[in-house]
């Protein structure tokens, strides 16, 4: 299983932090190099990009199930305890006629994490197959997951505020449920997965194909 591209194809290497373009020579290709400007380690591509992204995505898929099944809040009011999952929270807003908020929660906490996982899985498979099709569209999808991902933290923050505000003991109080931890784990691991995936791997396949045709 060979995933990483050949390391010595291009005569330059770009710093991942400050984006300084450095010349690379055959002599230094095997050594660890640091960026002369900002001091970050220089890598041709993000290290173990595909492996790390797969691992984080699998973890996120697993966390996604308890996050949706277990209760995210436990509301205690006048001695009665009521548990809410993410989906029952959406239905609560739908029943009370506040559908815009129901839509916001549904998109941010159910659709966005799921789409992020599906998109990243698709991108990883395309890198594995060295696909050269729809490169621009795939790059666009990657950019989309990068910008939209943080909004799924919404539900965690809603729970935090409810917990902070409603604390009247037995009259009314809110506790965070176990799903909150799993949901936070989904968001954090997908965010790390997005940042460990290297979109340049997709373009490497195209360049390899292009070089092959020239010969």
């Amino acid at each position: 299983m060979k995933i990483s591209p050949p390391d010595n194809r291009k005569p330059y290497i770009c710093c991942h932090s400050c984006r300084l373009v450095c010349r690379r020579s055959q002599k230094t290709s095997g050594l660890k190099m640091r960026c002369p400007r900002c001091g970050a380690m220089l890598h041709y591509r993000r290290r173990y990009s595909v492996h790390r992204t797969w691992a984080l995505i699998f973890a996120a898929y697993i966390f996604y199930i308890p996050a949706n099944v277990l209760p995210i809040t436990n509301v205690v009011s006048l001695g009665k305890k009521q548990s809410d999952t993410i989906i029952s929270g959406v239905f609560y807003f739908l029943d009370t006629g506040m559908w815009p908020i129901a839509l916001v929660i549904f998109v941010a906490s159910i659709l966005v994490p799921l789409f992020k996982l599906i998109i990243l899985t698709g991108l990883l498979i395309s890198v594995r197959k060295r696909s050269t099709r729809y490169l621009r569209q795939r790059t666009l999808l990657y950019r989309l997951t990068e910008t939209v991902g943080r909004w799924s933290m919404l539900d965690i923050f809603v729970v935090t505020i409810l917990v902070a505000l409603v604390r009247l003991g037995t009259i009314a109080s809110v506790e965070a449920g176990p799903a909150a931890i799993f949901f936070a784990a989904v968001v954090v691991s997908t965010m790390f997965a997005v940042s460990s995936f290297d979109p340049r791997l997709m373009w490497d396949a195209a360049e390899r194909c292009h070089d092959g045709r020239k010969k």
């Binding site: 943080r150 917990v163 902070a164 409603v166 373009w203």
Partner: protein, 208 residues
Amino acid sequence: MNSERQKPKPFLISCPECDLLHKIGFLHSGGAACCSRCGAVLHRYKKNSVARAMALAVTGVILFVVANVYPFLGFRMSGQIHHSNLVTGVLELYGQGMWMLATLVLATTILVPALQLAGMVYVLLPFFLGLKLPKRLSVYRAVIHSHPWCMTEVFFLGILVALVRLSKLATIIPGMGLYAFMALMFVLAHISAFTDPHLIWSHGEKDL
């Protein structure tokens, strides 16, 4: 400040998304250089970027202190009033045994924004005072890498959703801290839009 007035030298940049090498020359006001292959924005012309970013960073520091010190939200139900601060939610979560969740919320709403503001002030100070500060570019690197974890705007949307949910149960009294936090959200969003990373990296290069 001189480096900004001089005509910028052309420089090489490799596209962060598809690794195509580009040479960036002179950009007109408001212009942006995009990758010719994948369309990613490579570099943007920003007028007075250092002065504007510094002004926003200092504003942000003041707003941050106000948002954390003054009461955030009040909650009135059956004659009782409870005031809460920005950290109250974190402390309550910690008290319920959810320390992982508490750490995550603390990091994304308080620690990372604080790092962003203090870091930007530290990075931009040498442009005005002409002094050398140690580890300046490492600080800027930390600011850039922690940026996705600065979630003030998401937190604010969370506040709105929670308030709508509670509006039938009780009366909510917005405090001074909430207004400061709202302003802080806009300031933090604009700091990164106003800074010109290339200018900071190339200015820091001279210190080395």
